[in-house]
Symmetry: C2
Subunit: 227 residues, 2 copies
């Protein structure tokens, strides 16, 4: 009894989750992505990763040599980017059309990203007005898998009296996002650095015409676009 015998290349939900994890890890690591890194990201065991990595390698989605970590092939990268594309488009849908807040979308998008339908994703993109970024400020890959990366800087890198527009987050856990909401920090807001404290790396900022003290942890998880 097989479901989904329709589309050309079909990967399981599990395979897709691995691909996506490797894709994200590759962006930051720039070297081969290690077994342990994948295991940590997916909250699974290293031995399970080894199994899956061998399978993905068979399918020519990744390059894998024992003990050497993995790299996405062009095909694998394109496939992964498409999953990320779907994830982020669905996040936009949930926020823009279904009144979800930015801290509620992740788990649902994690499921929706695996729906197989070329037409669905094309039409969704069009329905949403071809958005370029998701609710967390992350760029949405185009239908060829290309990412248009904008220059953005961590808030912690701004100097005193510099200012920028809030354009993204690193940590998109609902705890962090709700914390930002509570502080009135949302995408699009202007932030000006009033003071930088050396002893704890906290930052004093101006936002919403109010002065706010921001811990180092927050400042290193918030992206701004300098101006």
């Amino acid at each position: 009894m097989y479901l989904c015998g329709i589309i050309k290349e079909m990967f399981s939900q599990s395979e897709e989750n691995y691909l996506k994890a490797i894709y994200h890890l590759e962006i930051v690591s720039s070297k081969g992505v290690t077994t342990n890194a994948i295991a940590k990201k997916l909250e699974t065991k290293a031995s399970s990763v080894t199994d899956m990595v061998q399978k993905l390698s068979e399918k020519e989605l990744i390059i894998y040599k024992k003990y050497q970590g993995v790299t996405l092939t062009v095909f694998g990268k394109k496939t992964a980017a498409n999953i990320v594309r779907k994830h982020r488009l669905w996040e936009v849908f949930l926020v823009e059309k279904l009144n979800f807040s930015w801290d509620e979308v992740h788990d649902v998008a994690e499921q929706l990203e695996h729906i197989k339908s070329q037409k669905l994703i094309q039409e969704l993109d069009s329905f949403l007005g071809f958005p370029t970024h998701d609710p967390h400020g992350d760029p949405i890959p185009d239908d060829k898998g290309n990412l248009k990366t904008i220059e953005k800087s961590l808030l912690s890198t701004l100097a005193k009296n510099e200012s920028g527009i809030c354009v993204g987050v690193i940590d998109s856990s609902s705890e962090f996002l709700q914390f930002l909401d509570k502080k009135g920090i949302t995408l699009g807001k202007q932030i000006t650095v009033l003071e930088k404290e050396d002893f704890d790396d906290s930052v004093s900022i101006l936002i919403n015409d109010k002065k706010l003290s921001i811990s180092q942890k927050i400042a290193t998880n918030l992206f701004v676009k300098k101006r």
Copy 2:
């Protein structure tokens, strides 16, 4: 009092597909649903059905006694209705918002119906304006699992000179639906029976101000609301 009503139980995609199949079969059969009937509907083997049916019985979703067929429990029926609800709401979404035609929605809805999120389905319902029927004229269960069934009759049961509004189909395969499209037969259209042929049970109808000859097969797969 235990947590039964409180904890949201989660079922696998496969379990949900079985539940839905049994739900649909129960509507027409009114007796216990047989192993073979389920196997046929899901295009699987009877032995696989027996396995799953034993599991669903363990979970108190169905009543099962060996060789006796199965019946949904109240809990099982509610669960199944909720899956049907999601399926049909997604079908409406695809047609109303994403330019799908009624013959293209089924496979995608088959996947979307398994997405787990209470909020998602509530918001979707509201976003769609609380639709009562899906694109094939099938009623959408409410959030308690209740079906509001309207009276409708097969086109084949209309007498000469009777007329009705086209409100649904039995067969919703894309072949049949595309055939209806080609003939200009869509939901909401008025149909008047001009002539009934005894020798082949075909029907001559008036639709879109044009006379059309309809085979018996079509006439027994089209629902109309008499007027």
